[in-house]
Amino acid sequence: MNWLIAILQTALFVALAPLLAGWLKRCKCHLQNRQSPPLLQPYRDLFKLFNKQPVVSEQASWLFIKAPYIIFSATVLAATVVPLIAVDLPTSASADVIVMVGFFAFARFFLALAGLDIGTAFGGMGSSREMTISSLAEPAMLMAVFTLTMTASTTNLSYAISHVLEQGLVLRPSFVFALFALILVAVAETGRIPVDNPTTHLELTMIHEAMILEYSGRHLALIEWASQLKLMLYGVLIANIFFPWGIAQTFSLHDLGYGLLAIIGKLAVLAVILGIAETLVAKMRLFKVQEYLGFAYLLGLLGMLSHIILEASR
């Protein structure tokens, strides 16, 4: 029964990810006075891409063809670790947050290899930029997550969220810092403005798009889906760690339904905030990114410090 719910939850994750992307696009369009595409447009795009024949260069090795499947499955596995509508599921109990970061790193490794594999200038440039940014973003992310895990004294997300829930509303200075750090890292890791612009194909600025420039057909669909999934993963991480109220603690139908409604509401609000931020902020220079991520790291560090100094028992 528990495994069934765990599988259902992951399926829900995969199914809802394009919806979140569509909603985010809708918010941005409304803010920028543009005509917005329908809410279900990302599903149509994916469907269209899945039906198209992929074109693969003659120079491509097996890696180029296998990479989308690896990336997609690694991202789905990462999604099983994060509690979406219920805590205490067997999948999230068996792996902790470091495994999740590991899955992300695994997917990114293959994405960067695939970018290099084809031998175009853009692919190599994108891969090198992606690795630079991720090497700075990962420590900041772990620092932010460690603040949570130190509070709950476990690295398991599911137990940590239950711990936060049990304590009720406690204002923790360290969580304020960790929240900001995680938001900054999430923006960088999912390739949103101001670090990367997901909608442009301008050669000077693109990072993620540069790596997947050679992909088409179902390969492209899988990679796009994986990046939508990643965006949703970070959203759920932020929503459920810092505002876990509403998540189901028992597996009754009523609780699960309530949990689903709660997470949809939280993600919708987060997407509106992200949309506003993306509209207000201009994309920054690539060389400014290290300052930005350095600041995220600093926030994570301050979160740890204020946990140890302000909150820990002595």
């Binding site: 301050l302 100094i309 302000l310 909150e311 820990a312 002595r314």
Partner: protein
């Protein structure tokens, strides 16, 4: 001290302390003057909230007056004055080049650790909440000094000076359960007088070296270096 076992007032005060510390860090890394002034106003606003909260929780009515004074001076008047100064001297489009920003930020983080280290001996004799709030305000003071060292514009120096004053004020609010009214009014007027004096200084610096960049004060050497 476990934060779960504290009452809501203490939790809010500690969160406010953390946020005030955060605004200090934001100011430290800020190259644009208008944004620097905005963050300074936000810090003033947090201070106002803390004062009002202390007034409410201690049932101490004259602290409300102090909160209103803080709001009027540090959130509205001084930022408005500095902003006008920046716009007048056409500095709002300049981005100040901060030498090695990462090093400055990490230096700031180590200053924060240092202020805890310095205040640690007090922990045995006072309540832990007060220690934490005092440590944060000491680090706000030190960060204000670091801000003055690392920035070159005279306006940034004034913001750094005022944020030092913010740190001291925060410590006073949290530690003393409300100072005597005379002291508070005195501090408020001191700040006001300082703001006016700084305005005069700006005027003098600008007329003598044609800029508000204090590094150019070296021009006043009689011998060329």
């Amino acid at each position: 001290m476990n934060i779960e076992s504290q009452d809501l007032y203490t939790q809010i005060i500690l969160s406010m302390a953390a946020l005030v510390g955060l605004t200090s860090f934001l100011m430290l890394g800020q190259g644009r003057l208008l944004r620097l002034i905005f963050v300074f106003a936000v810090q003033g606003f947090l201070l106002t909230l803390t004062t009002a909260l202390a007034a409410y929780s201690l049932d101490n009515h004259h602290l409300y007056i102090s909160a209103v004074l803080t709001l009027a001076l540090k959130v509205i008047f001084i930022p408005w004055m500095l902003r006008r100064e920046v716009l007048n001297s056409n500095l709002h489009r300049d981005v100040e080049a901060l030498g090695n920003q990462t090093a400055i930020m990490l230096g700031g983080a180590s200053l924060m650790v240092f202020s805890y280290y310095v205040l640690h001996p007090i922990v045995q004799t006072t309540s832990p909440v007060m220690l934490n709030a005092l440590a944060v305000s000491l680090s706000v003071v030190l960060l204000g000094m670091l801000l003055m060292i690392s920035h070159k514009q005279a306006i940034a120096h004034v913001v750094g000076f005022m944020s030092i004053e913010n740190g001291l004020f925060f410590a006073a609010i949290v530690a003393t359960k409300g100072m005597p009214m005379v002291v508070e009014l005195g501090i408020a007027f001191d700040v006001l007088v300082a703001a006016v004096l700084f305005g005069i200084f700006f005027f003098h610096i600008r007329t003598s070296i044609d800029s508000l960049d204090v590094d150019l004060l070296n021009k006043l050497h009689e011998v060329d270096k």
